[in-house]
Assembly symmetry: C2
Homo-oligomer: 432 residues x 2
């Protein structure tokens, strides 16, 4: 691995301030001018077209690229860690300053390195099943406090990595508009619901996790093996209709309040790229129970967490018209996860549930404990009681039509190139 070095790329835009330096190399599916979707790697402001450059790879690295044919990464995810690492190592060679292929690739120009701004991004994989967890303990506490001030966390929270099945059909990449959903809501003080557009539309800041190799139904993935089953990471906005949610969610959980759309950032940031930004899982507060044995692994305790800075920005239509800078809603970090990704995988499969390559997990909202760190408007405005004031003079309790939410993530550590995830954007459009 040359990741810990600060090797530069001959792709100039990969060397400045970018989410995609040589050390990142996230994978995605793109198309250009209406071409069939194909696989690529983000590098600076460009996309390295893996199919176009296929002849420069051999062995496991070529096997990885061939598994991406068809415009989906599922079969590549299924190959597991070996081919993914082989692909990365060859990419690190090819794209490094002084690479033996530099002149040739530079001569090919946009044939192998189109500008990302000219490309259309697609979902990186066919998502078979989507599971949304709830491992952001500060969010669980903040939300719990709104309903149960004295007892915000339910008794199972510190034993069970709580999660539920989400809707796979409405997961979309960054940039897809968010149609305001309609549904039933119970007006305050009433006993009969009304029907209409959601009035309490919210975002949720989450980490997305792409599943690699799956397991057979009836088998479980041991926590010590979980890393082998994780293909990569993205940002995820779990758009939420709070008024619909409050009325529908008992006793079987959120349903239409979430299933209208879920947005993800299109690049799959690999575990290898994130390796330098691993952290110990934060120590459990005194008095918290130890995880049950199936959720406990010393390596996972020592390095199962991540230090990834997470940010949420808001612009309104008026702010964009006035060229005002985006309003930062949230600055948080993945260290607020009470359960690690490995614990999620072990828990999800402990009952024999089959995971498949291309399954997506959401972490749950990753809020911090302080003001400025809350990952949803529900928390920031305390359910609408404390509106936000914006530089445009507007106020917001929840999202209005025309509002755009932008999620970003960045990893920084002394001696290592800083990497990002690319953006996850979505603009609210009026209900039909």
């Amino acid at each position: 691995m040359t990741q810990s070095t600060l090797t530069r790329s001959w792709v100039a835009s990969a060397n400045g301030h970018t989410d995609f330096p040589l050390q990142n190399l996230p994978l995605g599916i793109f198309s250009l001018n209406g071409s069939a979707p194909r696989s690529g790697v983000a590098i600076g402001e460009h996309i390295f077209d893996l199919q176009a450059a296929r002849e420069l790879f051999d062995g496991d690295a070529r096997r990885a690229i061939d598994a991406m044919a068809g415009g989906q990464l599922n079969a590549f995810f299924e190959l597991g860690r070996g081919p993914r690492v082989a692909l990365r190592e060859r990419l690190l060679e090819l794209l490094a300053e002084g690479s033996e292929q530099q002149a040739k690739l530079q001569a090919l120009g946009a044939q192998v390195l189109p500008l990302a701004a000219d490309c259309q991004m697609h979902l990186p994989a066919k998502i078979n099943d989507y599971t949304d967890f709830y491992v952001g303990i500060e969010h669980a506490q903040n939300v719990g406090k709104l309903f149960r001030p004295d007892n915000p966390l339910l008794p199972n929270y510190k034993y069970v990595p709580i999660g539920y099945h989400g809707r796979a059909s409405t997961i979309r990449t960054s940039g897809t508009d968010v149609r305001r959903p309609k549904g039933q809501t119970l007006p305050a003080g009433q006993t009969e619901p009304t029907f209409g557009p959601c009035a309490r539309l919210d975002y949720e800041l989450e980490l997305g996790i792409w599943i690699g190799q799956g397991n057979a139904m009836g088998d479980s993935i041991a926590i010590g093996d979980a890393a082998e089953h994780i293909a990569g990471f993205c940002l995820l906005n779990d758009w939420s209709a709070r008024d619909i949610q409050a009325w529908e969610y008992q006793p079987l959980g959120p349903f239409l309040s979430k299933s209208f759309i879920t947005s993800i950032s299109p690049w799959v940031v690999t575990a290898e790229a994130l390796e330098p930004f691993r952290k110990a899982q934060p120590a459990r507060p005194g008095g918290d129970p130890q995880p049950l044995p199936y959720l406990l692994d010393t390596r996972d305790q020592a390095a199962g967490g991540f230090d990834i800075e997470l940010e949420v920005l808001l612009t309104t239509a008026a702010m964009r018209e006035q060229n005002l800078p985006a309003h930062r809603l949230t600055l948080s970090n993945t260290q607020h996860m009470y359960w690690t990704v490995a614990q999620m995988v072990a828990h999800h499969s402990v009952n024999g549930c089959q995971l498949q390559a291309g399954d997506l997990f959401g972490s749950g909202t990753l809020s911090g404990p302080e003001a400025g760190q809350f990952g949803s408007l529900l928390e920031i405005t305390e359910g609408g009681k404390k509106p936000i004031e914006l530089a445009s003079g507007e106020v917001r309790k929840f999202l209005e039509d025309g509002d755009e939410i932008i999620l970003r993530a960045r990893c920084q550590r002394d001696g290592f190139a800083s990497i990002g995830f690319g953006e996850c954007r979505g603009t609210v459009v009026a209900a039909r």
Copy 2:
């Protein structure tokens, strides 16, 4: 339509007591001796091989068969009602006694009509998303009573067709063994959970609904159009780990307590076959609210229900050894659905959630109000307090290893051929 007549088939076994007379013609995916899965129609004790008989079809009927190539019915479901009806009408001609093709098809024998007993059934479609509803009001009341004797139904029940996202990856056809899941449970009177095999394994008797044509994200399916989006029906056993469920389900709903397996009967019984067994939706009890306008349609009120008799049988390993007859656990009916299938479709899509061909809905447990009609052991034994006595001398509070559950369904009406769904079976095997 010749369905209302009692036309006989030249396939002799289709004329006696069978789930699959000429009037049924359910569709499925089968293979024979390890062949590639392909589409067929159940007729008596045989399967009519649609690919083998393709030349006998033209126009929309052939288009229907061609859409089934690849061993999945999704593209056929997507074609909608027209091609499905054309296929049915041609099948009614071809397989009727005196058909002009009778001699030719009889001469081909097992080449076009293999015995079902020789065939392996597969999932009829790639299931993109699976949603489990909760429309069995008697079940909701029976279960609610166990926890809230004075207030069994939550306030939203009579307004919202309650549902939640289920796990698609572990849906299997009849005959697949049910591995007892492991998980966390909270022993009575304790405050800390333990880990181990589920001790309260249960079945749930449900109707399954196959979605036909889908909708674009952001669009809704009006209740008056819902029938156009329903491809067919099956039986569904929503196996449930009650002890895991009780500990995990707050606040986001059931998760690992359900996701270890869901069993379905392999034949897709079409809306056309069920047409004679349509019923008015049972009148809402006095005092119940009218459905909100988006859930209200006069045609649906008049004929949106079904009269389908549902049955659950249990055999234990000891009972099978002693050749004892199966024990009937449940005799219920689809008339206990508080919401129609059209209401489920309209509700699911009202927020713009995209439905896709091959999505599967479960109805929720369809219990009746009386003893003998309860669709789960949770209800029958009142959570284990009233064990069942079996002819073998055994007792059951919940399912033991070796127990087999068999779901059946039958439609009967004077002047019409009786049709069934085929079985949905599953045998519990020990935890790993």
